[in-house]
Symmetry: C2
Subunit: 349 residues, 2 copies
């Protein structure tokens, strides 16, 4: 597996002074739009323009199943992955509702659901690597061949969107058991214990949580020490996560704005950043997850999410709810008057 095929460069900083000047001469006190100013600067730099635009923003939801679920790490049965994909198709999930209101197109991808979606092939991109990963308590979750294939499929989906004129992609996911994968990726790649990385996961009570801790520690013992991000991803990831990593890296290579959801997708972003640190320049972390593992990742990467509404749902819901805030950042940069335009006096200092 080669890392070098991702040709990701940080955005040129030559435009930064002009962007900052444009921001500072809007009719408002210096810095008074807070995080919106940071976002406007970042997106202007990514797109290398003083008038950035999010074109056809599209949220891709990668779904996959996890062999580890047979160890009882989630209170939900594995079938819920398939059921929720069908809920996405019928428009009834949170991410559908939020995406519709935010003007975000949805693309649903079967990355490895343990159930047949072929009768929905007009509504779901079937890119199934296998019907769920292997149980990582006793095996690699996936082979290196499967990992490579999944990452390539994610990259190809970006290429397809790019060719349609999309310049902004969000990432969401569905996969019962995938908070266990996220915890292991966090533990390995941020160098923290399972206890620090573990997330309660959807609907998990205290007893299930204790059991999850015990199982994940055994998984870590089984696989031993690993440092290579792709090795960790193959051992403990999911197909939806591997496809997301390929998606993120390709989108950064193409200088797209990449919107990262909550804990699960941040663990994919972590893998991508370990492969190419420059990729972080293109990512916006949308929603702070209540999970302790999420904070481990954001501290490790030195990033700050846009909003914190105490949500812990995944699906891409954090991307969809945050999008209007990110649009507001672009809107003020493009549409507000400057002091000069408006004939407003500046501060006397």
């Amino acid at each position: 597996l080669s890392y070098t095929r991702y040709d990701i460069k940080k955005p040129d900083t030559a435009l930064r002074a002009r962007l900052q000047h444009k921001i500072d001469f809007k009719t408002k006190p210096l810095g008074s739009l807070g995080r919106l100013e940071d976002l406007a600067l970042k997106i202007g730099e990514i797109q290398q323009t003083l008038t950035p635009q999010l074109k056809k923003p599209t949220l891709v939801i990668y779904a996959g199943d996890h062999g580890l679920t047979k160890e009882g790490v989630s209170p939900y049965p594995q079938e819920v992955t398939l059921q929720m994909v069908k809920n996405f198709i019928h428009g009834g999930a949170a991410v559908n509702v939020f995406s519709k209101h935010s003007g975000l197109d949805l693309v649903i991808v079967d990355a490895g659901v343990a159930g047949d979606l072929s009768d929905c092939a007009d509504r779901v991109l079937i890119r199934k690597i296998a019907a769920g990963t292997k149980n990582m308590l006793t095996s690699q979750a996936m082979t290196l061949d499967q990992l490579h294939k999944a990452m390539t499929e994610g990259a190809l989906i970006v290429d397809m969107l790019y060719d349609k004129g999309v310049n902004t992609v969000g990432l969401g996911e569905m996969g019962i058991g995938n908070s266990s994968s996220a915890a292991l990726l966090t533990s390995y790649l941020c160098g923290v214990s399972i206890d620090e990385a573990v997330e309660r996961g959807a609907g998990c009570n205290d007893e299930t949580l204790r059991h999850k801790h015990a199982i994940l520690k055994k998984v870590r013992e089984f696989h031993g020490e690993m440092h290579d991000p792709l090795q960790v991803l193959a051992a403990c990831g999911g197909f939806e996560l591997a496809m997301s990593v390929g998606h993120i890296l390709r989108a950064c290579e193409k200088k797209m704005v990449v919107l990262i959801d909550g804990y699960i997708m941040s663990s994919a972003a972590l893998v991508a950043a370990k492969i190419c640190p420059e990729a972080l320049s293109y990512m916006i972390f949308c929603h702070h997850s209540a999970s302790s593992g999420y904070s481990v990742i954001t501290r490790h990467l030195g990033v700050t999410p846009v909003i914190d509404l105490g949500m812990r749902l995944g699906e891409g819901s954090g991307v969809a709810v945050a999008l209007p805030i990110i649009q507001a950042a672009i809107a003020f940069l493009n549409e507000m008057a400057s002091f000069e335009d408006a004939g407003v006096s500046e501060a006397s200092q």
Copy 2:
């Protein structure tokens, strides 16, 4: 001045269990939409329905000038109030841009600008109490008659909007020097020192800030002890603040959803809550202000703002940026499928 003319009752709680049930049986883990669930419940209760709607949400921006500005508490000249009102009229301010994108109607009110807006009377409601307040370092900011008139005008604006079918009002403001009024209201009504309540204010450097502290302490000495919220408002308020207090109280009386902006408008909300504590049931605090005084108010009132983007602009910008989040809360309640609708299995616990 009578407090009893505001007939504000807390919303009936009879619907709460049914609203909570509707929220809990959406296709998502219990509680996983965090603050959005609180907002959906609150708005459902205010409107006494399982299918709430924000009808014609309207942001009213009250503008007024402050006699205290002649003491140099702000680095901006007083004329900026008038200039910014004209900027609002021409659509160039941050609040215009954000309101347009959030689908929020704007109403601009001259509550007491020290400048002539009569040539803009088709775009601004002229409700001028006087051309700015008196200097509160040496006088009451306004007479009790002026206070009463301002509060009545605010209430009448609510009546007019209500009659047009508006059920959701936001409050914004413009007034060079009004962070000094906010600090004094906070200091008096939350029982904290000027040092705890003072806000840097728009574009204020360290030297201006030290001067502002000194002046505000003198203002507090001049007026001595006060506890009655209306007395404090007359002594240290602004016409835009007094009109806002009347607006808030009437809107709560009419069971409207009341969206509160940042620090300045939260100080008006504080006065309203001191007059009628039940009013808080109708208010949503939209944006956390970076000012220390803001946190004093929110702690004192026991409220949590929806978002924190480090903004400190006022105008109603916090309302406009937060509105899509509040709309998302209503959208999930109305539009998401339930477990039963979608055939999704619930957690096993």
